[in-house]
């Protein structure tokens, strides 16, 4: 049963949060260099108070875990999972513990790294705090899973189509678009915004230190771009599910224009950071290229999703594959404007025969 639980809870969790893990990987292996990791681990061993920083990061991670699992386990395809309540409490927790362990793997791996250094530096106090927190968090996840699976569904079926603004025709239609981006979780939206802005800001502030090159700058933009994909996807999903706008007679061009307007409004913080913090030792000619790259990245992923399959599973997979291709391209020295150009051309040619366009023609 252990493998079954990992397969049905832990793996979908990683798939659904691919974008987040991309950013984490970038921050851990791209932005922060190995010597900086070691320096931090040594400092942590000497100053146990610093463990608070690590613990705060982990708490944020477990909030993400809680949000994600809550949605998954209360979806209608997971109703069958409630049968796990038929097991006694102890065997149930025992069965769920390996799943909790897999879910908590990223903080555990980093925790083990810090732990080794703390032990090496005889910083036993810091090591103790880390061990206790890791154990508590893993047991906590197992308990949460056990409780969530058996808790009532609140009379709601989370897979049911729900209208974002309680579908009131007297409301101006543009509020529907605004709420459509909020519909999939306000917290997720604001967290994504905060994360992408913080990431860009961090890259631009660190860039003048001389240790970072243009490729890393592009990688940062790539990840900031990926964090916006959900936004584009929400617009698209809104159009697909709530086709009342189409039925109301609003023309495709008109709707597209409004969506583009809302999208630009949504990415203004990132654009401001790119323009305002652009390092003076870099030619400003790179700015439009980088900004274009960000936008075209979103557009190409979006068109691909529309072509392949309209669900979040496809979104995660597509983001992953596209991200991997971009990563390799950047590491081989392809500049931002080159990628932007390629994306623009590719999106133009692939967005022709989508089901959405076909329905428009009909």
């Amino acid at each position: 049963m252990n493998y079954f639980l990992i397969q049905s809870i832990a793996i979908p969790f990683y798939k659904k949060n691919t974008g987040f893990f991309f950013v984490v990987l970038y921050v851990c292996f791209g932005l922060i260099r190995s010597n900086e990791h070691i320096a931090f681990a040594n400092l942590l061993a000497q100053q146990p108070r610093l463990t608070v920083v690590v613990l705060i990061c982990w708490v944020f991670y477990f909030i993400l875990v809680q949000q994600s699992l809550s949605k998954t386990l209360h979806s209608s395809s997971y109703v069958f999972f409630r049968q796990i309540a038929l097991l006694k409490k102890a065997p149930r927790l025992l069965q769920l513990f390996p799943t909790a362990l897999v879910i908590a793997l990223p903080p555990t791996a980093y925790g083990c790294f810090l732990l080794l250094f703390s032990i090496q530096q005889k910083g036993l106090y810091s090591a103790g705090i880390l061990v206790v927190f890791l154990l508590v968090s893993m047991i906590g996840v197992a308990y949460y899973l056990s409780w969530r699976v058996t808790s009532p569904l609140n009379g709601k079926n989370s897979n049911q189509r729900k209208y974002p603004v309680k579908l009131q025709f007297n409301k101006p239609w543009y509020t529907w678009y605004l709420f459509s981006i909020m519909d999939n979780g306000k917290l997720l939206f604001w967290m994504t915004k905060l994360l992408s802005c913080a990431l860009l800001l961090a890259i631009y502030r660190l860039y003048p230190t001389g240790t970072y090159d243009q490729r890393l700058l592009l990688l940062g933009i790539l990840f900031a771009g990926y964090s916006q994909i959900m936004l584009v996807f929400d617009f698209w999903q809104f159009n697909q599910q709530y086709n009342v706008l189409q039925l109301m007679g609003l023309q495709k061009q008109y709707r597209s224009r409004q969506q583009l307007f809302f999208f630009i409004v949504a990415v203004i913080p990132e654009l401001i950071i790119i323009i305002y913090f652009h390092p003076p030792n870099l030619a400003y000619i790179l700015v439009p290229g980088n900004a274009l790259f960000l936008v075209s990245l979103l557009f190409s992923t979006f068109t691909w999703i529309r072509k392949v399959h309209p669900d979040r599973e496809a979104l995660s997979k597509t983001s992953f594959y596209l991200g991997a291709i971009h990563l390799i391209a950047i590491l081989f020295g392809i500049p931002g404007w080159g990628l932007a150009l390629l994306h623009g051309a590719w999106s133009y040619f692939t967005s022709r025969s989508t089901p959405y366009h076909r329905s428009e023609k009909l």
Partner: protein, 210 residues
């Protein structure tokens, strides 16, 4: 013996269904109602999926979420079962068998009976609605429960499976004394089942049909 006491379910202040008192002995019970009358809501409440007012008692055990014995005594098949698309039927049945503590062979026999074994290693997203329905039915029918709740069991499945299901319901009821609560928007006579009583949900009330 299954009883419902002071049951009431409301959504946004609007009462969907209210059952002050109902006692059922073993047998096959047919619950009829139009779409949206509250059949599935009642069944989900009995299976403790959704919160509600009032309580249910099965063989003198009061039903709530913490009552593992109560939950173990009943099984529920949804009208439109859904499963994670990447899982296979075999994995789902194995999970059910482990949770319910029943022999997997029983599951296998039922799967063979409903002719699903040819596809049971395929992921669920390749299944038709009939296959999904059969998967849900097998999960609910396997084992020896005191109460089996079937929400619109005869829709979407083929005629052969429908006959097999009817036969299985009859046998389980006669051999093991299992109680069945079956919902449908059609009349009980349409399916030629030896039902004990037929109820209809009308005006948020459960009314016994004559």
């Amino acid at each position: 013996m299954f009883s419902i006491q002071s049951y009431k379910k409301s959504y946004n202040g609007r009462t969907i269904l209210s059952i002050p008192n109902l006692n059922l002995t073993t047998g096959i019970y047919w619950i009829k109602g139009v779409n949206g009358s509250g059949k599935s809501t009642l069944f989900q409440s009995i299976a403790q999926y959704i919160p509600h007012q009032g309580y249910f008692t099965l063989d003198a055990i009061r039903g709530d979420l913490s009552s593992r014995i109560f939950l173990k005594k009943l099984s529920y098949s949804e009208a439109e079962p859904q499963f994670p698309p990447f899982l296979t039927q075999k994995e789902l049945l194995l999970f059910t068998a482990q949770c319910r503590g029943i022999d997997f062979k029983l599951m296998q026999e039922l799967a063979e009976l409903f002719s699903t074994t040819d596809y049971w290693n395929n992921p669920v997203h390749t299944y038709s609605s009939g296959m999904l329905k059969k998967t849900g039915l097998i999960m609910a029918l396997a084992g020896r429960q005191s109460l089996v709740i079937l929400d619109e069991p005869f829709t979407t499945i083929d005629d052969t499976s429908r006959d097999l299901l009817k036969k299985h319901i009859r046998t389980s009821q006669q051999k093991d004394g299992t109680m069945f609560l079956i919902s449908s928007h059609e009349d009980a006579q349409a399916y030629a089942l030896p039902y004990t009583a037929s109820y209809e949900i009308k005006n948020q009330q459960l009314i016994l049909c004559k």
